[in-house]
């Protein structure tokens, strides 16, 4: 073997190892010195995908060419088109800093899909990938078991009450991840080359998965499990038209019935569907503003809104064009899977059938959970869709005819190509520094919140200022800094900070309400009332805003607006006495004004008490 061939093989191994480490670490890693213990997953994902992409580039560099087999083209071209459209829309979209973390995620997910599709097509690769995912499921499941027994030694013990959240940091995400592992474990169990001992462990893992899903006490997790099981029950028999299919179908249907019974036995449905309805309306409003080309990737993060499903979100961000490209990719994958199914059955390729069936069920289940209906939104397990889809595409390539390979040759001699390693490594390390610095920013953001919670506002501002642009918490840190200025009784500084925040994300959280409070401290009642009004349009159910708006309008002398705002607060929370007190104050002012009009000489003397509205 020549040195170049050895190096090519080395870079392939580097690609493979990085992918396997990613699928293992993303579900298992957490770090409890950032606000959200899951921030480490973003860092691992970004660093890992950068390394994966460069290992793939180095492999091509070593060989002197990058290949795109003819069989991969129908699955790679839609992804490449979607990637190009995402980049173009980001480059032309406003508010790029706030949108950057989300944009990077979208790009890196597509890169993962393409590399897995091009490099990991064989059934051996599928076995390895499934093995590492189920190993992570074992760790998550066993930690969940410990949590359910009250044996969690870590500081986040009881963060979700009795609900199990394990290494995924949230019951919904845990439920979805474990639900996805059901078809993967079943596929391993059906693999004819699987060792009998490992088949027993598969059965044990299925039990652990189902128990943990139940312990999450999460409607969305149970709902996700139901959809994944349905996809499994429908998908597996398609690939096994012999005796195996009956076994599989019975197993899947039994699981489906059990989970179906559990799903509707628990609570949580109304909140779940209510959230979806809000998210759907928010996405629809955004889509109607720019239906064709969308608002740019990451614009949902820049203009925070509830989610109505990732597909709606994609149309809001990338427009109908992006949605059409996504459907093209999905359609190509579905067509490839159905084509492969026929070929595998015909040729008796049982191993390939098992893993293609498992991947189909998991991908379909994940799509049903994240794209088309509401569900847990987090980097992991959402990211898993991409390597699984890439692996599915890679397996289906085995069943396609087509011998040609499109190549992009690197017109350099071997020695010259080797000289490229140094700058390429420097670029890779330079890119890896960003996620590490952003992770450091997450630690600073958490320290700032700790200072704020302890009342050390100066310390909080110092930490908030250390948060770097591009970090997920950057916009939140600007908001926190402005709030800290307000708490320090520096309303002018706070208003400047809120204005800077509005440049990044115009409607972030309760920015208009907070800004109104700062104006109120400066006794600028006109601007305070205007800010409260904007806040009420963005968050119509935010009661505290109506109380403060009513007070500001009173100071301004706009009794009509004060009454409307106080009425709204009392309507939203009829049992809350503070709203009645504000309303009484407004009525008293109105009565006083009416009296002053009747008897101009008595203006300003005395205030009537009570909440009865003046007549006339």
């Amino acid at each position: 073997m020549t040195t170049s061939a050895k190096m090519t093989s080395f870079w392939f191994r580097a690609c493979e190892t990085t992918l396997l480490v990613l699928v293992f670490l993303l579900p298992t890693a957490f770090f409890l010195k950032t606000y959200d213990g899951m921030a480490i997953k973003s860092t691992i994902f970004e660093v890992g995908t950068i390394v994966l992409a460069f290992a793939w580039l180095f492999k091509g560099m070593e060989r002197g060419r990058w290949e795109l087999p003819e069989t991969a083209q129908p699955l790679a071209l839609p992804a490449l088109a979607l990637l190009a459209w995402t980049i173009i829309r980001f480059a032309t979209a406003p508010r790029q800093i706030a949108a950057l973390p989300d944009f990077l995620k979208q790009v890196l997910c597509l890169v993962t899909y393409l590399i897995v599709l091009l490099e990991f097509g064989g059934v051996q690769n599928a076995r390895r990938l499934f093995g590492w995912i189920t190993a992570a499921a074992w760790i998550a499941g066993l930690y969940g078991l410990c949590q359910s027994l009250g044996l969690d030694p870590l500081s986040w013990k009881g963060a979700f009450g009795q609900r199990v959240f394990s290494t995924l940091g949230g019951p919904d995400s845990l439920g979805l991840f474990l639900a996805l592992c059901i078809p993967l474990t079943l596929a391993q169990w059906l693999d004819p080359e699987r060792d009998s001992f490992l088949r027993w462990t598969d059965m044990a893992l299925l039990l652990v998965l189902l128990m943990n899903i139940g312990w999450t006490h999460s409607f969305s997790a149970r709902f996700a499990a139901q959809r994944v099981c349905l996809a499994t029950a429908l998908g597996l028999p398609l690939f096994f038209p012999s005796r195996n299919s009956l076994k599989t179908t019975i197993m899947c249907l039994v699981m489906f019935v059990i989970i179906g019974m559990v799903s509707f036995a628990g609570g949580g449905q109304p909140e779940f569907f209510n959230e979806w309805s809000h998210g759907f309306n928010a996405a629809r409003a955004l889509i109607s503003q720019s239906p064709w080309i969308g608002h740019g990737p990451g614009s949902f993060a820049a203009a925070p809104s509830q989610d109505g499903g990732a597909f709606l979100r994609m149309i809001a961000e990338l427009g109908v064009v992006g949605g059409a490209l996504w459907l093209w990719l999905l359609g190509s994958l579905a067509a490839a899977a159905l084509g492969a199914r026929r070929r595998f059955i015909k040729e008796g390729a049982l191993g390939e059938s098992c893993y293609t069936a498992g991947l189909c069920a998991a991908t379909l289940g994940l799509l049903a959970c994240t794209q088309l209906t509401p569900g847990p939104r987090s980097l992991f397990p959402d990211w898993l869709l991409w390597p699984l889809a890439g692996m599915l595409g890679g397996l289906t390539m085995l069943a396609r005819r087509g011998a040609f390979v499109s190549v992009l040759p690197l017109p350099l001699r071997e020695a010259a190509r080797h000289k490229l390693y140094a700058p390429a490594f420097a670029i890779m390390l330079g890119l890896v520094v960003f996620p590490i610095r952003w992770f450091d920013s997450e630690i600073e953001h958490n320290s700032a919140l700790a200072c704020a919670n302890a009342g050390d506002w100066q310390g909080a501002i110092a930490h908030f200022e250390m948060v770097k642009p591009g970090a997920e918490s950057f916009v939140a840190a600007q908001y926190g800094k402005a709030n800290a200025f307000l708490a320090l009784n520096k309303p002018a500084d706070a208003i400047n900070a809120y204005a800077a925040l509005e440049d990044l994300s115009p409607d972030y959280s309760h920015v208009h309400y907070q800004k109104a409070l700062a104006y109120a401290k400066l006794q600028d009642w006109t601007d305070a009332v205007a800010s409260h009004e904007i806040e009420s349009k963005l968050n119509p159910s935010f009661v505290t805003n109506y109380d403060a708006w009513s007070q500001a309008a009173l100071k301004l002398g706009d009794l009509g607006a004060a009454e409307v705002a106080a009425d709204k607060a009392a309507e939203l929370e009829p049992s809350e006495p503070s709203h009645k007190a504000v309303l009484a104050e407004v009525y008293a002012a109105e009565r006083q004004l009416a009296e002053a009009r009747k008897h101009p000489t008595r203006v300003g003397k005395g205030r009537a008490a009570g909440t009865k509205k003046p007549q006339g």
Binding site: G64, P411, L412, A548
Partner: protein, 125 residues
């Protein structure tokens, strides 16, 4: 295409696996470049090999080999859970990961995660 690009794709060209458009550009280059033309000719000849026919006793040798394999006892199946030399990279990776994780958790300064404790920074009216 330049000479080096042709060198980097010539194995695919010789095997007839290069896409039609790229094949056309390689052919166009070969027509103009004598050295590439000569090298590719050698490559194609080497692929064809010195003799195009199989050895005469190949069939018998294969039959004997298959008979031997059928009569032999199958080798013991490797136990995937057994701690053999193939497990070392996995064990080493897990040890490195755990070591790094513990190092990171203890050495990186910072406050305990605030999400699982108190509220945020919003000032009250």
């Amino acid at each position: 295409m330049n000479c080096q690009s042709v060198v980097n794709v010539e194995d695919l060209y010789a095997e007839g696996r290069l896409s039609p458009s790229r094949t056309a550009s390689v052919r166009a280059h070969i027509k103009e470049c004598a050295s590439c033309s000569a090298r590719l000719k050698d490559e194609l000849l080497s692929l064809k090999g010195p003799s195009a026919s199989a050895p005469k006793d190949l069939k018998n040798r294969m039959k004997a080999l298959l008979a031997k394999i059928e009569t032999e006892e199958p080798p013991p199946q490797a136990k995937p859970w057994a701690f053999d030399s193939e497990m070392w990279p996995v064990v080493t990776s897990i040890a490195i990961y755990l070591g790094l994780a513990l190092l990171l958790a203890w050495t990186v300064p910072g406050a305990p995660s605030q999400r699982y404790g108190q509220a945020g920074t919003e000032a009250q009216p």
